[in-house]
Symmetry: C2
Subunit: 360 residues, 2 copies
């Protein structure tokens, strides 16, 4: 590989000083550099294929145009990609680049990730969670321009961008109500699991479901708690659908659980949606649209969370005093510093009006 051209090379070729090429290429030429020299500089740069060394600029300018993002396991999850995509898109528009590090839910790795990011002199920090949860922001995050995505700071210090699950769940329940269902059971996920001890999705979705159902005068039934995967969904649905007073609709913890429910219905010879309506949650690209039948579900705003969180740190960078954007507070508990983003209902084909079961 040839030696990369430097500003000096451009200056020599154009017959000007290095300062001149810097000014021209950074748009500070007007009124400072003679027009013909500006042209000469641009031509020389073009000819040499010159592009300023960003490492040198970073040192000189004391900023790297890099934001560090630490995540639990998001880079490995199917949704994670959407969140990261949103963040990348926002970053790209401003010439920023992301370096993302997974912690795999390991505290030591998390600390290490923050340390290497700080050592690398990232301009700002983002923390993103795979599942909507509470996160206690460490000092390092509080000191830097930072934001949270898909989680809420239990220390109350850094702003989070989260899904409005209460409204989302209410919308999901509402489709069922509107279709005429009066006997609905919720296949709920566990609030605790190996990796999170404070999953916010569970209580908030339940609140939403409950509100919508009660507002419509539909009796609220105790949720049956399984897990978040296909198999627990299958098993829970198998049990519920064999009850004497089989419900006409199932509200599922997520789309994987809903897929399990579809399978269970099939095994019992029940058609979806003619015999049971099923609604999922997440709009999981692997499970919702491709399912047979395609699942009616609620879309989690992953892309938006990534995009808004990144925009927020960029705003903080531009103006450290920048206040929180609009929309803080909807669907949240008292005192949470977060902005809730809409969870849109997506209607597909897994919901139909109930038909009177032959046995009643």
């Amino acid at each position: 590989m040839h030696r990369r051209p430097t500003a000096k090379d451009v200056a020599d070729l154009a017959g000007v000083s290095r300062s001149a090429v810097s000014m021209v290429l950074n748009g500070r030429a007007e009124g400072n550099i003679a027009p013909d020299k500006q042209v000469a500089v641009r031509e020389a740069a073009e000819k040499l294929g010159y592009t300023p060394d960003s490492v040198a600029r970073s040192l000189r300018l004391q900023r790297t145009r890099t934001v560090g993002v630490v995540t639990d396991a998001i880079a490995t999850s199917p949704f994670g990609g959407r969140l990261l995509e949103g963040a990348v898109a926002a970053a790209e528009r401003h010439g920023y680049v992301l370096v993302v590090m997974d912690t795999h839910f390991d505290a030591a790795r998390e600390e290490g990730a923050y340390r290497t990011l700080v050592d690398r002199r990232v301009d700002a920090l983002l923390y993103a969670a795979m599942s909507y949860s509470r996160y206690r922001s460490p000092e390092v995050l509080q000191r830097a321009p930072s934001a949270l995505a898909n989680c809420v700071d239990s220390a109350g210090a850094v702003l989070g961008f989260v899904p409005d699950e209460v409204a989302g769940a209410a919308a999901a329940a509402q489709v069922l109500v509107d279709a005429g269902h009066r006997d609905v059971v919720l296949l709920a996920g566990d609030q605790r699991n190996e990796t999170y001890d404070d999953l916010l999705a569970v209580p908030r979705r339940e609140t939403g479901y409950r509100r919508a159902l009660e507002a419509a005068g539909v009796r609220w039934q105790e949720p049956v708690r399984g897990g978040w995967e296909v198999r627990p969904g299958y098993e829970a649905a198998l049990a519920v659908l064999q009850r004497d007073d089989r419900p006409t609709a199932l509200l599922c913890a997520n789309d994987r659980v809903a897929a399990g429910a579809v399978l269970a219905a099939c095994h019992l010879g029940l058609r979806v949606p003619q015999d049971v309506s099923i609604v999922g949650y997440d709009d999981d690209e692997n499970f919702a649209a491709p399912m047979v039948p395609p699942l009616t579900t609620v879309r989690l705003p992953f892309r938006e969370m990534g995009e808004r969180a990144l925009q927020h740190v960029l705003a903080l960078l531009a103006n450290p005093e920048a206040s929180a954007p609009e929309g803080v507070g909807r669907g949240l508990d008292e005192g949470e510093v977060a902005v809730s983003l809409e969870c849109a209902l997506v209607q597909r084909r897994s919901v139909a009006p109930p038909h009177p079961s032959p046995s009643r």
Copy 2:
């Protein structure tokens, strides 16, 4: 935020020169710096929480300890995470960090990605594909220390790390043969789709299936071609399983297709594996293990591809003349520069011996 401590601060506190702190902290102290001063430097650094500015080091050393990875859509795919994880693990062990950019199958974005990575002075480049395919390496990749993951260079210039699909598929077919199946049909994916025009997975898997079946004296049947998703799998299986000479086993293009086949079997009142055996491919974490029943499948070596590719560029960095590692060539076409990695069979519960169908 306070001003970050520099080497000067440490030097002053320890009563030595900046050179001394550099030597001590970089392990070049022995024989050069008096032992007591070494101690003083370490203590001062510790006390101040000093950590060398990596931007300044990068400028001085002319290397950033960063490798750029450009991918088509891998950061958004469920498997991509595994590939990236392997790459990150290898990078981490050597103090490297990754910056990854998705192209979304857009040539302009791809070019832009390479450009920003080069502008950022990454030390090496990786290109990773979501699906096993051919990729034509651009000039920029050929000039830099680089490697390919999950694809093979049609220009023959840069080394690829790819799955040994021929052997993987043969192993998948072999389970069926060993269980006693003599009537097997392949639910194959499309070779072309919107995003790839040269998917290598298709022909190579077919070669493997065919070899294993023919070696066992099992008649090779024309594959039925659908797609790569749940629904096409469902539809293809629905048709095949209603034939008069219904096969006793289905070999599926991937686990999503297999999931569709499971659903189709269920709709036809066929039990898996008692009435039909089904084998998938990929070991997709969302579909294989969680399915009911859990799918016997073949695991794609995503983690290994990422890890080996990264190790290779690191080796190139250490010694630009470094030759290709062992294992080049297995399961490949003539002239392909790539190393094939094992696809391990994972046996679960979707395969059983055939039982004579009642109608025969």
